[in-house]
């Protein structure tokens, strides 16, 4: 059977196991909650993780060539969350690689180099998105107070900042 067809046939099983493996990166008490509650507003991390994994997985077997931008968008929901949690960079995106073993075990055969390459592409897209989120956090951190307080003071003429032309 064609690998894509096998993936499609085992979609639910693979995604379920991938989800389990992903939430195991949290402490066990947390993982239990993330896996149990179905309402997306009572369990935003669990539902976002589920949603992202499904979207990414569907791209894996429905397309011959992966579109990096589309992949990043699909990963955004889960990676944006993991970027502000207690993960190292490798732990934050490492869940992607779990897919290789899961698929291998479920299909009971090595899915082939092409599949492995696709998973690697997903991991790279996840890392790209992770970095964008971190950069966004640093930017927000750097500009937040200035944007608020400083701007109001500036408008009132209480403070002033040198402009580019003053510095030249």
């Amino acid at each position: 059977m064609n690998i894509n067809k096998s993936l499609e046939k085992n979609r639910k099983k693979i995604i379920d196991q991938w989800f389990e493996a992903t939430i195991k990166s949290y402490p066990p008490e947390t993982a239990r909650v993330l896996g149990r509650i179905k309402n997306r507003f009572d369990n935003p991390v669990g539902s976002a993780t589920q949603e992202s994994l499904e979207n990414v997985f569907d791209q894996l077997f429905s397309e011959n060539t992966l579109d990096p931008e589309k992949l990043e968008d699909a990963l955004d929901t889960v990676v944006r969350i993991r970027a502000v949690q207690k993960f190292t960079a490798s732990d934050a995106v490492g869940f992607v690689f779990e897919l290789k073993d899961i698929v291998k075990n479920i299909l009971e055969t090595a899915p082939g180099e092409d599949f492995d390459r696709k998973v690697d592409q997903v991991a790279l897209a996840a890392f790209n998105r992770f970095m964008k989120c971190r950069e966004s956090i640093f930017l927000i951190k750097a500009t937040e107070s200035k944007r608020r307080i400083h701007k109001a003071f500036e408008r009132a003429g209480l403070v002033t900042e040198l402009k580019d032309e003053d510095l030249l």
């Binding site: 402490p27 507003f41 935003p44 969350i81 956090i137 944007r147």
Partner: protein, 548 residues
Amino acid sequence: MSDELKPDELLDKVDHTPASGSWMDTTVQIRPGIFSYAAKPDSLETLGAPNPRQWNPLDDDWQLPENWQEIIHNGIKERLEKFRTFKIFMDVCVRCGACADKCHFFLGTGDPLNMPVLRAELLRSVYRNDFTTAGKILAKIPGGQKLGGGRPMTVDVLKQWWYYFFQCTECRRCSVFCPYGIDTAEITIMGRELLNLLGLNIDWIATPVSNCYQTGNHLGIQPHAFKDMLDFFTEDIEEITGVNVAPQFNVKGADILFITPSGDVFADPGTYTCQGYMILFKYLKDKYDLNVTWSTYASEGGNFGFFTSHETMKRLNAKMYAEAKRLGVKWILGGECGHMWRVINQYMDTMNGPADFLEEPVNPITGTKFENAKSTKMVHITEFTADLIKHGKLELDKSRNSNRIMTFHDSCNPARGMGLLEEPRYCIKSVCDNFFEMPENTIREQTFCCGSGAGLNAGENIELRMAGALPRANAVKYVHDKFDVNTLGTICAIDRAALSTLCEYWVPEVEVYGVHELVGNALILPGEKKRTTDLRMEPLPGMEDEDE
């Protein structure tokens, strides 16, 4: 959770991946991005607070007083005798776990010690060990401490307290779900009060408290600068409307004293909400001769003393009544603020009251008695404005807000702390055509916190704030995706700042507005010129092509 978590088992098993072991044995890992900087000694000295010194939470040595354990022990003892709630909350919890998955910080960070039950256990375990007979007996038996859920007070325990009591915004969502009605926020309040006995505050709280105590507001802005800011807004509003709305300050014999958080005066986008108040007061002056005064002395509605200790809260709150008395006003009108309203509604009257020199608040224009404010003598501005709108006393042009597709974030303290649910919605619907609610388990009593309240809106703890904001942002994103919502209305100064940042990270298409900014846009001032822009100087709907 209730079917799964047996807290004693759970407490032993908490595994801090990648670290391992029980929370009772593990040294807390204080992580940059999560904790806030320590209080500066100068700020503690202003208030005569204990143990002012330069210290760093990442250092091993926190420079505690030699007898710190005795101070904490006596501190707990004193508070158990003084506050019945504290005693009950220490004893009554059956650790059913109903609160465990209700906290935005737990849901967002995934850290099990942010489950309200476990955060409370940090303190409760010491209480059990030191203050209960069972705990004292069990402590003598090998393994008895764990059996009784008690543990002795050590430096590591103290560090856990500090780390996790400053990861709680005292929002009280967990208490809504507690079958015993335990208010975990009060446990955090006590925990922080105890930490303050050792000089363990964070600077984002201590310095605003110090400024407020010395100068009158969180930023330490002096009266002339406070007035300068409002004068500047007056110029802006005149440019937009053609009407001079200059406010009056410190006027003796005015009808009403208006007090709002200083965030409205100094921080965007609260400044536009402030302009909304100014337009409203000018309208009421011209139409109904209502005389509202601002104060440069009581220039802060917020009260970060609430996040420090009961005593500090009382000291800061006192100036509201003192100023109302000095000016001889009839009653006090309060602006759009969050925790200020919990302090007023729940503490002010007993702390600094009775304010028998003030009148029971009556709206002089409509005759409505504000029964709920009968005792505190302080009325929320959305109640006041909703009453005016209900009686047809305001002339409004909704079309000026027609580009705003609204949803409303219930701020924790006005919603859960005083039950103010309908009035802000009524105001918004009266000045905007497009309004969509977020899902029901994320609004009203069940509202999710912004993740930055209770003094945690600092910059250095940005990861904590963004993680804590996730449940709220998740619901905002839902209404944005489904209904094209582009505006998040709110009635809290911290929210206006915090939600703007959370939207920037999670839902960048959504902007944050105070309710009175929308009212200010819609209100038709007597004698105004044709407006072409809103208060943010952005073109009004249909005016995009108008020249300046």
